[in-house]
């Protein structure tokens, strides 16, 4: 681009900095991807070379970031409407939609290819499937079509520990799917609790949310149902290869608190919630953040302590 064309067509607001491109990759979502994929990789019962392990996590993170860029490309229209997303690089006019598509596609290809080369073809293929699932099945197809969008999006977010495990072992077993179930079943109660106390602007954007399509009473029932299912899988995982006494203790305490929170949300009506400004729902949401972090933290502890004879069931 010449100086003349800069002066004619660009304004400082429209020129992207490196941080704008980085923001396209949804760094906050990426941090969850990195953490859970790392736990999946470390919990696997094989030794992984530290450099190979680092590369695996890096390329899984880049794949997750690529999905984020492609999500922003497709959702640019609704991102402009919603308060929560209108400061993203595309609505701000810093990055062009086509540029986001190009970056997303390029990083998808790079991450899949490099993960396959660094670890094995199955991990690469599964990362490709995850990107496809998040972008095509969730973002393009179902996000605007069904109020169960949170459940489907949760599945996409739950794949990283499975990819981490695959990267380490090259084969599948029950344990990575228990980690998948943990994030997958945790996502709906987490987001629906948020939807109860945040007057969501998804409605303005035409995205169906359960609170709007089926009502708030039904959302409370859904939170309890998913929490009961989650408790079964979360505590059950304690008796698998990724569990152990530490995980069991952490899981029993957290699940008891989580179930209590879901039950209280179920029992409440809107009048009671409005009266204390959704105190129970807000508390449940905060607990949910700790819940996921501590469960994966406990799995990590079990795996790290295993070589010293402390982790696992011995």
């Amino acid at each position: 681009m010449t100086d003349a064309s800069i002066n004619a067509s660009s304004t400082p607001e429209r020129e992207a900095g490196f941080g704008d491109y980085f923001a396209l990759l949804k760094p906050r979502v990426m941090s969850l991807v990195v953490f859970t994929a790392f736990v999946g990789l470390v919990a696997a019962p094989v030794h992984v070379n530290p450099i190979v392990g680092f590369c695996a996590i890096l390329f899984i993170a880049i794949g997750g970031g690529a999905s984020g860029a492609l999500n922003m490309w497709w959702d640019a229209d609704i991102d402009m409407v919603m308060k929560r997303t209108k400061n993203r690089p595309i609505p701000l006019g810093r990055v062009d939609r086509v540029e986001a598509l190009q970056i997303g596609m390029a990083l998808s290809g790079l991450s899949v290819m490099m993960l396959a080369l660094a670890t094995n073809i199955f991990a690469g293929a599964f990362l490709a499937f995850t990107i496809f699932f998040y972008v095509v099945i969730y973002t393009i197809w179902l996000k605007r079509a069904t109020p169960q969008n949170i459940v489907i999006g949760g599945a996409a977010g739950a794949f990283p520990p499975v990819i981490g495990w695959l990267a380490a072992t090259g084969s599948m077993s029950i344990e990575p799917w228990l980690m998948f179930a943990l994030t997958f079943l945790w996502t709906p109660p987490h987001f629906w609790a948020l939807a109860l106390f945040m007057r969501s602007d998804y409605d303005d954007a035409g995205v169906p949310m359960l609170t709007v399509t089926h009502g708030r009473r039904s959302t409370r029932r859904h939170i309890l149902a998913y929490t009961v299912l989650l408790v079964v899988f979360a505590v059950g995982a304690a008796f698998s290869g990724i569990g152990g006494p530490i995980y069991l203790a952490v899981s029993v305490v957290l699940n008891a608190l989580f179930l209590r929170g879901a039950w209280r949300i179920f029992r409440r009506d809107e009048v009671a919630s409005e009266a204390d400004n959704f105190k129970v729902e807000r508390g449940f949401f905060k607990l949910s953040l700790l819940y996921l972090f501590l469960h994966f933290g406990a799995i990590l502890m079990e795996a790290v302590l295993k070589p010293y004879g402390f982790g696992g069931w011995g």
Binding site: T11, A16, F18, Y21, F22, N49, I51, C55
Partner: protein
């Protein structure tokens, strides 16, 4: 040598170019490190070694 004052636009562009440059540099280092790790584990063999063992590659 330019005597024009540096505009915010130029700063942002410089930051972007530096960021992309550093990312590419990091990528080269990562691929190099990965190659070393895989060679040491015997997953990748040097061509001379592969031929001397009667194989066309790995």
């Amino acid at each position: 040598m330019s005597w024009r004052p540096i505009h915010e636009l130029h700063r942002r562009r410089l930051g972007r170019n530096l960021g992309v440059g550093l990312a590419l540099g990091a990528f080269v280092v990562i691929v190099f490190g990965l190659s070393i790790a895989k060679t040491q584990r015997g997953e990748i063999q040097r061509p001379g070694v592969a031929v001397s063992q009667g194989g066309m590659g790995n």
